[in-house]
């Protein structure tokens, strides 16, 4: 059944503007960058699939992790080519890092961060967190006005990705560069040495991959068509509230980030 023919889907409300242009542009730019960086990063990892802690680490030192090379479905390019993997990686790293910087500054300036992402007292109440986890576990997604707000789990994961994971990836990436080691020696030392930086970079990349999987699954379960349209065009159709549903906490009036 097509959406237009489904009375339940069309009846409730006209689409609302959910995501700002800056958010949508950043989202898809970053999605592309993360795809290229993850796959080309695994291609680079394949050149020496061992990880160490500390300043040095090479074949005769003891790695904390030693893996087989990632297969051709995982790496960019699909056949082993360290030089080309690096070209992809280092070009898109620039795009990711500067897009992130611009988005952070812009989101602070237009109050996207304080309005939509910042955790509020109500979010941090144990009862709220417990209910959100229970709702997620039962795949019971918010409807009505509550669907326009980020819940505590969404906020926490978006904050973790934007303000922790992506910056950690950027800075540990830089910490591996011998040129940056001379320019900003504190960067490598703060990472615990070049090999620690490489290990942290690898772990953070897989945490980002884990976020990607959960993110995709959640989008699929919550209504992929509506979610995708929201992130592409900005327009989002609010799912009708269930009878008797509590409409979020009712604490805030402003709902979607696109609202004035």
């Amino acid at each position: 059944m097509r959406e237009e023919d489904d009375p339940a889907a069309t009846a409730p409300s006209a689409p609302v503007k959910r995501h700002r242009l800056s958010t949508r542009l950043w989202h898809w730019t970053t999605a592309l960058c993360v795809y290229v960086l993850f796959t080309s990063g695994l291609g680079i990892f394949n050149a020496h699939p061992r990880l160490y802690w500390g300043d040095y680490g090479a074949n005769f030192d003891r790695p904390w992790l030693e893996l087989a090379r990632f297969g051709s479905a995982w790496t960019l390019p699909s056949t082993y080519d360290l030089a080309l993997s690096r070209r992809w990686h280092l070009a898109f790293a620039l795009v990711l890092a500067f897009a992130l910087l611009a988005y952070m500054l812009w989101s602070l300036a237009n109050r996207h961060v304080t309005r939509d992402l910042a955790l509020r007292k109500a979010d941090l109440r144990w009862a709220t967190i417990r209910r959100e986890i229970a709702d997620h576990a039962r795949l019971r997604f918010p409807r009505g006005a509550a669907a326009l707000r980020y819940n505590v789990l969404q906020k926490a994961s978006y904050i973790a990705v934007i303000f922790i994971l992506l910056p950690v990836l950027t800075f540990t990436g830089l910490a591996m560069s011998p040129g940056m080691d001379a320019a900003w020696p504190w960067l490598t030392q703060f990472s615990g040495g070049r090999q620690s930086a490489r290990s942290i970079h690898f772990i953070a990349a897989w945490l980002l991959f884990a976020f990607f999987l959960v993110h995709i699954v959640m989008v699929l379960l919550a209504g992929a068509g509506n979610g995708l349209r929201g992130m592409i065009t900005g327009w989002y159709r609010v799912p009708e509230a269930r009878p008797g549903d509590r409409d979020g906490e009712g604490e805030r009036e402003s709902a979607g980030e696109g609202r004035p």
Binding site: N59, D61, D81, R87, S177, G179
Partner: protein, 254 residues
Amino acid sequence: MTSPLSRRALLSGLTVGAAGMLAGCDRLGRDEDFRKALFSAENMHKWLQRSLQDRDALAREFRPDQRSPFFRGNGTLNPGTPAYAALWRNGFVDWRLRVDGLVGRPLSLSLAQLQAMPQRVQTTRHDCVEGWSAIGTWRGVPLATVLDAAALSTRARYLVFHCMDDMGGGVDYYESIDLVDAFHPQTILALALNDALLPVRNGAPLRLRVERQLGYKHAKYLSRIEAVADLSAVRGGHGGFWEDVAGYDWYAGI
């Protein structure tokens, strides 16, 4: 589900999409114009790093007790040619380092002459493009000293390092750096590693150390330093063996 797309369609779409992305990116990676755009990021990194670095900013130096227990070799572990074997058998007394090209006073330096010049000792981290690192103590002659002795011409922009290791089909390894790195205090022609003469696997009798760049720039088994005005006429034109044959970045600071 009220979505126009079913979950299964989306999941298989994702799988097909990922395969398609990869195939598309693979194809892009072979396209000449796209490669040109992709490879231009190197210039951006070089510009950013050179802007953030002091010209003489030093790579971190370590204490001798922080060294790797074993400093591995990589790439060529022994040039293996009869000519190299003959030099090695004689303790490299017949070996000479030629310094020529755009210089006022071409040089031919013996090992003893290089040993007699002022030396710099530095314990630094060697960062391989493959991802591993090793820390070792190098001793050698600052490249600046040799270039001054050779009266480097003001027309010179790059130093090309010619090596004795045959990379196959009679093609010797080579590398190049610009004057910023050539006159950097940590850029030395290393004669010794960890308080002993350079082992064969690490580039005996002489190798370059250019500490703010990745390992492949640190040419081993040196035989000649050539000063040039530009790199396009040298060998494959990209400034180094791996740059020519595999598309590695010429600027290896990242």
